[in-house]
Amino acid sequence: MTDARVKRYLVLEDGSVFEGYAFGADAGTAGEVVFSTSMTGYQEMLTDPSFAGQIVVPTYPMIGNYGINGRDAESARIRVAGFVVREHCDQPSHADSEMTVDEYLRSQDVPGLWGIDTRALTRRLRTRGVMMGALGSSAEAAVGQLKAASTYGDTDLVQAVTTGHSYRWTDSDGDRQHSNSDAGQRRPDWPRRRVLVSDYGVKYNIMRLLQSRGCEVITFPATATAEELLQREPDGILLSPGPGDPELLDYAVETAKGIVGKVPVFGICLGNQVLARAFGGSTYKLKFGHRGANHPVKDLRTGRAYITAQNHGYAVDADSLPANVEVSHVSLNDGTVEGMRHREMPVMSIQYHSEASPGPRDSEYIFDDFVALMDQGMDQGMNEAKSN
């Protein structure tokens, strides 16, 4: 614990004020305040692009116990707008630890708040719904931040996290650096399956899991058009997770419309919502979202239940989907849509995070399903899909 404690405040849109202490960067911030119930994986959470624009509150009270390491980041930098914890650990204990959470936040100019009753905050968000909030050195400063901030739901946050240019993912020796080099035409010596990723805020582990299944992975900006993607002769396209309201992503929806039926498509999280819109469906905002590592999902085709990692604030409206799109997975907690399959086209998508990181790995088999879908090719894929 830092000896010289500096007060810091969280002010919520509904006027409630939480007084705690500052850690991380000496700055104010604003964002949508959300809680996550995952007990481990704070480094993955901090760097998950889907948390862009949000002040994240882990419900687990002691954060930072095993430090920050060189392996667990899920994107190039911290993405959260702010971080609010009950306790943060100044003396982490782990062989891989390189710095504390406090140092990590400071190094990337992200402010944190500790020492508040995070459970009280969580209960408030649960009962009233997620809302905007701001951190400041005084309640007044925080209110100022809040007023100045643009509303989460009105901001296309994908633009803030997507890659600026296409790149080929290379992580063969556990090195998370990715090359900016060319992602051009196929060469005969490249792997059999080429997967293109529409980066709405992709996590490294998605690319790692594809690569470990023998895929070449090339990642594109979210604004890449269907034409741009298809001309790279992909075996499959993955629409990635990402932050914000899918209603703001008309460009991504257009791209999705242009690729479905032409190549096997796999959507995860925001990718799932974009696909739903591409099929003519709609999405809506959940009261307090699904964020954590313990969410049960039922695969309706097998009847099996899986524990999944989730991080979404919006959901697909099942009733809005056309008849040729079936709901393949539902949440066992609230019955919301957790996955879809197109009855005629090789399109599969899930609302949860099969890449986990953080969270249980039970759903990694979904990547095998996607690989199988690609291997069956377009025709077989469609037949397979029809037979379901």
């Binding site: 995952s38 419900t59 687990y60 524990i307």
Partner: protein, 1102 residues
């Protein structure tokens, strides 16, 4: 990787299921199985399944009317279970909730062909899995097949084999002898010398001469996962737990933290995935516990032998059943593992079982915690100071406490408060010459003392293997102590100290204030604990569980209900002298309150129990049972309204001791007043009271110094019974034969109860009789009289008790009823009391089967030994065998309803047409170095009951259930003190008639020869000729031992080896001639003519 999708297969739901309980409480198998079995029976009945329950332990909620459809309190043997199966015709048997006892019995039933013969399906865990988890070689092979790493090991049966194993495994190595319970003979070898020593002793100890040499992972992190699986192959983990103590200490003896603290998500998921792979491979349908070793962090790893190669984790052990850890995980998360496991066993899928916590979601989820849980074991070394206190592969704790808070430091400090070890708070330090860092029961305090003295936490981690994250937390506690010592106690400092879990009492010590002064300052600053809910979902969903823990935070979730409320104070951790019986009483108290329309609030700190099941009471507070915590809960429940009254009668000495603090604080107590309690507990007041009422008690006095003690003893004459006042389970109680011993006692006794006086009483070697009674201020109801088999001088908790008293004259019964009634009314008891009497006329042992009854002049010589103004250990027993619901009656009396209004009247309740024998059960084989002889200090950990129409089959069943049954036509070693030889003639005759071959030490052999019987003389001298007494026990020549002692130090020392060896060998060893006679008596007559019937049948009469 790829889970083949499979349609859930439908399973025929069984109609009637036999649930096997775990038997008596022993070390390693405690109240957690009562909790599990009770939940399971309730869950099965919800599913429309008829439940038949069998358990030999009467002090359980599961054996209560209304929990299962049919209850058998019978010994857990194959013969008995087969008779139950033949009678009840269940189509399924569920053994996975009865601990290792249940699983072992299931295997025996299958092997004996019972299950096939009666067409009974084994539910929960397949037979092959039970075997695979028990057989280390099979387990290793199975793990190998699914690619899960196990520590390298070699099976060794010879010197050459041991040499080969040493080359392959290297040092350090664990040597585990095969088929010896408790790892006798084995150990962790760090040096060649140790290796060869353990290899030798291990092979010698193993009945098949086999040991397993295993790579030692001492120093690695120890992590456990609680996993559930249903028949459709859905799997979840309920919780993971990290041991504060690294590998090398039995998990039951480790401080445990939930969830894990030092694991990254990748590690957490790595071990989680392994655990799921394992439960799938084992095919368990229900709950399973997986123990894993994880490579430690740098600081610790550098201290270990070079172990760079190999996997990052190893699978250590699997329990394919509900376990102690699952009870802990259930309480730590709110996820009811046993309940869900039972439903899975009858074919439900996880996604079909509602989540009882939220009432909205389903059981297919993984609890998210937003707090930290710390468990600390409770060891019996406050009683057995001479025992071996080191901790290793053999579990030694009798119980445990759990505490919850938002930080590790706070949860740890609260857990320390919950231990209730006299005078040992977090600030206590072991004597400087006692500080060693090997694992032992006081190591936590040793570490705290070291950080206080400035030892770097990393240094302590290097020495102990405890992860630096934990030792640094200890340092933060020490730093806070230093601040409290140095800084003025302002609001901020006090707030921070309270947030870190410091008790008012410790803050008082550090700031030179009384506990009350600190409490007052806290009140002035407006600092009060808030209460947070354990909801299994970290606040994500609205939950209905009324399960709370205190913490110093902003928002309080436990708002007063405004309804009539009473607080039941529980009994804390299970320890010798305060066992599951008191939890039984607390649970019944909560139920009785609810039935009477009063909201019940339970406070307890023990995660193993039924009382801390969140649906036992209307509200559960998981808190230490100290004055601060209890008063804070009461204040919280009161809010601005009426202060709820507390019930202190059911939580053993823990609760009764709080009565004076509550009363002093002006808080109301339900039932007998603090003043009544004080009179019964204070020697002087009590003597005055008895004298006033003309009720005799053994002469004696309370003394404060040696001089006065000698004087009193001189006046009343030796032998005298000495004990400190206000103690539990006869702690530090002794029979003293002469002045020398009295001086020795007086110079040591004050350590056990500092500042308190010592009671000296004339010791009468008579028969002991015990009654429980309920009093409403007008009448006193005595449900029955229990007569002890052993003469006075053996602690009542260690005595066999027989209901009804079979050898009492009418005059004696009348006197007991009269005294009991007058004491109850005179003390103005409202609720329960327990009285022990000694009867001095006639012989000390009289055979209940002896038709001639007793001689004597008909004069009743009855003395009161002790009055406890509270529920007692025998309440579950007497309630069950008489059908009188003692706790319910008592609670209603407290609420103002007379016995008459409840349909009962005063006096002795009608004698039932049964004989029930309660027998104590000991855990001595697990406590090396502890003497097993019976005396005034209680040593047993549990109890069993034998019930039948007559004494002989009843006592036979009690002995059978307690594992003390003498085999037919066996051999026995007799070694008796001169004093008991006269009493031994009848015993020897009984044994001879039963066809026993007799072995005896010199003096005893002479006595037997003089009776004209054949006897083999065995020398007592261990260094001399062979075979000696130890030889004939360890080589299996004799099947049982009788070794009586007079109580003086010399004869105790002589017999110590005999008793210890018999204990290690797990053969009956009787140290009271009276128990031996009862056992011998049970031999004469057919052994299989006992009845096996539901409890209700016995009570309904023949």
């Amino acid at each position: 990787m790829n889970n083949p999708p499979s349609e859930p297969k439908p399973i025929a739901k069984p109609k009637k299921v036999l649930v096997i309980g775990s038997g008596p409480i022993v070390i390693g198998q405690a109240a957690e199985f009562d909790y599990a079995g009770t939940q399971a029976c309730k869950a099965l009945r919800e599913e429309g399944v008829t439940t038949v329950l069998v358990n030999s332990n009467p002090a359980t909620i599961m054996t209560d009317e209304g929990v299962a459809d049919v209850v058998y309190i019978e010994p857990l043997t194959v013969e008995v279970i087969e008779r139950i199966i033949a009678r009840e015709k269940p189509d399924g048997i569920l053994p996975t909730l009865g601990g290792q006892t249940g699983l072992n019995l299931a295997v025996e039933l299958a092997d004996a062909g019972v299950l096939d013969r009666h067409n009974v399906r084994l539910l929960g865990t397949p037979l092959a899995t039970i075997r695979a988890a028990e057989d280390r070689e099979e387990f290793r092979d199975l793990m190998g097949r699914i690619g899960e790493p196990t520590p390298p090991s070699e099976i060794v049966e010879s010197q050459q084999g041991a040499e080969k194993a040493l080359k392959i495994i290297g040092l350090p190595a664990v040597i585990r002898p095969a088929y010896t319970l408790g790892g006798t003979g084995g150990g962790i070898a760090n040096t060649l010398e140790e290796y060869w020593r353990f290899a030798g002793t291990g092979m010698a100890a193993s009945p098949i001469g086999q040991v397993l040499v295993e790579k030692s992972l001492a120093g690695w992190k120890e992590v456990e996962y609680e996993v559930m699986r249903d028949a459709a192959d859905n799997c979840i983990t309920v919780c993971n737990m990290e041991n504060f103590d690294p590998m090398g200490v039995h998990t039951g003896d480790s401080i445990v933290v939930a969830p894990s603290q030092t694991l990254s998500d990748k590690e957490y998921q790595l071990l989680r995935t392994a655990s799921l792979n394992i439960i799938r491979a084992l095919g368990v349908e229900g709950g399973c516990n997986v123990q894993l070793a994880l490579r430690p962090g740098n600081i610790v790893a550098k201290t270990l032998p070079d172990q760079i190669e190999g996997p990052d984790y190893y699978v250590i052990e699997v329990n394919p059943r509900v376990s102690r850890s699952s009870a802990l995980a259930s309480k730590a998360t709110g996820y009811p593992i046993a309940r869900v496991a039972a439903k899975i066993a009858v074919g439900k899928r996880l996604d079909e079982i509602p989540n009882a916590v939220t009432g909205k979601t389903v059981a297919a989820f993984e609890p998210a915690l937003d707090y930290c849980v710390v468990k600390i074991p409770r060891w019996p070394f406050d009683k057995f100071a001479g025992g071996d206190r080191s901790l290793g592969t053999q579990m030694k704790a009798t119980g445990e406490v759990m505490a919850i808070d938002r930080t590790f430091e706070a949860a740890l400090l609260k857990a320390v408060r919950s231990l209730e070890i006299t005078d040992r708070d977090a600030l206590w330090e072991p004597k400087p010459d006692d500080t060693h860092f090997e694992a032992h029961d006081e190591r936590l305090w040793t570490l705290l003392a070291a950080v206080r003295q400035g030892t770097a936490p990393e240094e302590l981690s290097r020495i102990t293997g405890v992860d630096p994250w934990f030792t640094r937390a200890l340092e933060r506690i020490a730093k806070m102590e230093a601040r409290l010592l140095a800084e003025p106690l302002g609001r901020d400092l006090l707030w921070e100290a309270k947030r870190m879990g410091f008790a008012d009492a410790q803050i008082g010590v550090l700031t030179d204030r009384s506990e009350e002064q600190v409490a007052r300052r806290r009140a002035e600053y407006g600092l009060r604990p808030t209460y947070k809910m354990v909801d299994s979902c970290a606040g994500e969903f609205e939950a209905e569980t009324p399960f709370f823990y205190s913490t110093y935070e902003q928002e309080n979730e436990a708002l007063p209900t405004g309804e009539p409320t009473a607080v039941v104070i529980g009994s804390g951790p299970i320890r010798i002298g305060q066992g599951i019986e008191f939890d039984y009483c607390s649970v019944h108290a909560a139920w009785a309150l609810s039935d009477a329309g009063v909201k019940s609030v339970m406070i307890n700190s023990n995660p193993e129990t039924v009382s801390t099941d969140f649906d036992t009471s209307d509200r559960l507070y998981f808190e230490p049972l100290d004055a601060e915590s209890v008063m804070s809960v009461i204040q919280n429940e009161a809010g601005d309204g009426a202060t709820p009254a507390s019930i202190v009668q059911f939580g053993g000495q823990t609760a009764i001791n709080l009565s004076q603090s509550l009363d002093a604080a002006g808080l109301p107590i339900l039932g007998s007043s603090a003043q009544s309690i004080d009179i019964a507990s204070d020697r002087h007041l009590f003597e005055e009271f008895l004298a006033r009422h003309g009720i005799p008690n053994p002469p004696g006095a309370a003394v404060a110094d040696v001089g006065r003690a000698l004087q009193v003893a001189q006046e009343i004459g030796y032998p005298v019974l000495v004990r400190p006042s206000y103690v539990l389970g006869g702690r530090a109680m002794e029979i003293v034969q002469n002045a020398t011993e009295l001086v020795r006692y007086m110079s040591s006794a004050f350590a056990a109860a500092s500042g308190r006086r010592v009671l000296i009483d004339k010791y009468f070697e008579g028969r002991e009789v015990e009654v429980d009674a309920v009093c409403d201020g007008e009448q006193v109801l005595i449900p029955g009289i229990m007569e002890h088999v052993e003469r006075a001088g053996v602690h009542s908790g260690d005595s066999m008790a027989v209901y009804p008293g079979l050898n009492l004259t009418k005059q004696e019964v009348d006197a007991i009823v009269d005294y009991t009634t007058r004491i109850g009314l005179g003390l103005n008891v409202r609720g329960l009391m327990n009285i022990q009497y000694v009867l001095t006329s006639g012989n000390t042992y009289r055979s209940p089967t002896d038709g001639s009854k007793r001689e004597g002049d008909g004069r009743a010589e009855v003395f009161v030994i002790e009055v406890n103004p509270r529920s007692s250990r025998t309440i579950p027993f007497i309630s069950k065998v008489t059908g009188v619901p003692m706790v319910r009656l008592a609670v209603n009396v407290m609420l103002g309803k007379t016995l008459a209004e409840q349909g009962f009247s005063g006096g002795l309740w009608k004698k039932q047409d049964i004989v029930a024998v309660k027998a104590p059960v000991f855990s001595m084989s697990k406590l090396t170095g502890v003497d097993t002889y019976l005396g005034p200090e209680m040593k047993s950990t549990g109890e069993v009951m034998g019930i039948d129409r007559e004494f002989r089959p009843a006592v036979a069943k009690a002995l059978m259930a307690a594992g003390l049954m003498l085999p037919k036509n066996g051999s026995i070693l007799l070694s008796m003190a001169d004093k008991t030889k006269a009493d031994a003639v009848a015993l020897v005759n009984e044994l001879h008639q039963a066809g026993y071959k007799l072995y005896a030490t010199k003096g005893t052999a002479a006595m037997i020869s003089a009776m004209g019987l054949e006897v083999t003389t065995i020398t007592k001298v261990l260094s001399g000729e062979h075979p000696n007494v130890v030889d004939v026990i360890s080589d299996g020549t004799v099947d049982a031992v009788v070794n009586t002692v007079t109580g003086d130090r010399k004869s105790l020392q002589d017999g110590f080896n005999i008793r210890r060896v018999a204990t290690e060998k797990r053969i009956p060893c009787f140290t009271s001639i009276d128990t031996a006679r009862a056992a011998a008596e049970s031999l004469n007559g057919p052994t299989d003519d006992y009845s096996v019937a539901p409890l209700q049948d016995y009570l309904n009469g023949p």
